[in-house]
Amino acid sequence: MLDKFRNAAAALATGLLCFAAPAQAQPAALAGVTDTEIHIGQWGPQTGPAAAWGSVARGTAMLFQMVNDAGGIHGRKIVYHMFDDQYNPARTIAGVKELVEKSPGIFGFASGVGTSPGLAVKDYLMERGIPWVGPAAGSLHWITPPQKALFALYPLYADEAKLLVRHLVEKEGKKKIAILYASDEYGENGHRGAVAEMQRFGLAPAVEVAVNQADRDLKSHVLKLKESGADAVLMWVNPTHAVITLKTAAALQFAPQWAASSTLSDVPLMQTITGGLWKNIIFASFSELPDADLPEVKKYRDAFPKYAQQGERWGVFFMAGIGFVEPMVEGLRRAGRNLTRESFIAAMESIRGYKGLMGKVSFGPGERQGQREIFLARTDDSGTRVTQLTPWAEVK
């Protein structure tokens, strides 16, 4: 009886070893990478209150298609998985989990609009070591503390807030500055940055007005701005709220100097959807202007008619989808054929002074905020021409 038991135990152990041996001999396959493909995901609001930012994800599609048409990266084509999360963090989580946990998995995520949607998946991605490059939101959350697999590009909302406040106070002579901000992480980042910079000048905000994402009626908001006597208003809101604000302000005969976040820097879009009210607006910009006569811009602008979907528009938000992901493509190239997440992260850390559609990008060990350069620009009285007010500069 005992012998039978010993024999059975020996057979079971042998069997287990047989099964275990191949697993030790070959490393587990890297999720989202095959001999011929690299699977990359992105979320973005194609519908919902932030749909105007949906062109970011579509811009990335054009970049990946151009890369694939040029032969891919070390023999692999990029397979791009984009989904509509409606700027709703619950949908972002669901979509990301579905992509990551279904075969063949995802190598990494590119860009992705929104601080709140991004925050909803940040820990999930980082716990699994899944690379995420270029979140389309200028939040401090991406780099505080720095995450090994998260490479941020979008200049911080706090930095653009500093630059905007400095310009309004020093160059425009404004003393009563109000802040209109979305009541989420995006708006709060800009809001906090603006308040801190105003304190440096010994100023307090004329009024701080929060906007809920669901709101379509902003009369009480604009009335508060007007009653504060503000001579300038800073905005960290979504494009639709910017439209409603400007239309309501026009009706209430309130005409301060409007100053906008880079999230509202797509001038042709804003001019169109405000019905021509996007005039004389000062805004921060994280990318070259769409009509800039620069080779790095011209390359994509010329390719745009071939690659973009019908009805797409060449503008800052579409360009952002390219610019936020160019360094990821560069990192994949530098990582070589033997692509692993470790080799990719090391390759990303080797990027210094990279210049594509955005400002200069540099990463390094422990350095995860790749771009800090921004500039200010202003639309003219017709709302169609843009003048660059400041050169590209890092905000100290």
Binding site: V211, A214, D217, K219, T240, I244, Q253, L269
Partner: protein
């Protein structure tokens, strides 16, 4: 102007916003009082109507008024089709089942609009510019806001006359009160219900045509007005036209007062707090009779 000095302006702005909510509430109420169905697609049907109006203006080159009338005609067809092709086809329907059908309809309409026109916001320019205003006693009234109040008042008056003075209106009331008896009396109740859906879509569509120019036209444009309109309908009592109108005005004014004097960040949730309060104190709503079913 001190903060109390802004009160008339806040009240007027609230009334104007409330007018739009009242239109949505009226649309929901006339369907509910005839069929006991809550139409959760009302907002997105209004959104679709607005897109069609915009298409008539942009692609068809029509002036706003003509495009709006054409869009409202489309709304009537959309409402009638929804009743005829979806609601009527339900086999042995329960009220809950019909409500779920309206949720499905909402998803279909939203999905179609997103597919057809994309998610990006669009401008709807109308002859009334945002800067067209009339100032009365220091209160700035934009002509678009005045138009919203006027449309809501006209719709309420027309509905009142229609339901109380016309045969079709009488048929609607009879269908609401006792469907089998109405049928026995020779009323073609299914046609009546189809007519109600068409009428509701037109009223809701007029709300969409007022919301679009004030902001942007986009697939989700009616989510907030729809929720506030539903809140107004509940507040008014779900079966009362006057209650729906009053509910809309109250919701608009209360949320603007709260937004201006307390917090803009939580302004959107105030209407729902009002509903909770109302359901706790007077569940039948402001102006509806409390139903007691004999057993």
């Amino acid at each position: 102007m001190d903060s109390l000095g802004a009160l008339p302006q806040v009240l007027f702005s609230g009334l104007a916003a409330g007018s739009v909510y009242a239109l949505i509430a009226l649309a929901m109420v006339i369907i509910y009082r005839t069929t006991e169905v809550l139409n959760f697609a009302q907002g997105d049907m209004a959104m679709m109507t607005t897109y069609v109006g915009l298409a008539f203006m942009v692609a068809g080159g029509m002036p706003f008024l003509g495009a709006a009338l054409a869009a409202l005609a489309f709304a009537a067809v959309l409402g009638a089709c929804a009743e005829f092709m979806l609601l009527r086809r339900a086999k042995e329907p329960s009220v809950l089942g019909l409500i779920i059908i309206t949720l499905g309809l909402e998803m279909i309409v939203f999905g179609f609009a997103s597919w057809k026109w994309g998610g990006e916001p669009r401008d709807m320019t109308i002859p009334l510019a945002p800067t067209d205003v009339t100032v009365v006693g220091g209160v700035i009234m934009s002509h678009l806001e005045l138009a919203a109040i006027a449309v809501a008042a006209l719709v309420i008056a027309a509905l009142f006359l229609f339901l109380n003075r016309s045969k079709a209106g009488l048929a609607m009331r009879a269908t609401q009160q006792n469907r089998p008896v109405a049928r026995l009396m020779g009323i073609r109740v299914r046609r009546v219900e189809m007519g109600v859906w068409a009428l509701a879509a037109v009223i809701g569509g007029s709300a969409g045509l007022l919301v679009g120019p004030a902001a942007t036209v986009e697939p989700y444009m009616m989510w907030d007005p729809m929720m506030k309109g539903f809140a107004a309908a509940v507040l008014g009592g779900m079966t009362s036209l006057a209650g729906a109108a009053l509910g809309g005005a109250i919701i608009g004014i209360v949320e603007n007062l709260f937004g201006y004097y307390v917090s803009t960040a939580f302004k959107s949730v105030v209407p729902f707090a009002v509903i909770l309060l109302m359901l706790a104190i007077k569940p039948s709503g402001l102006l509806a009779r409390h139903y007691v079913k004999k057993v």
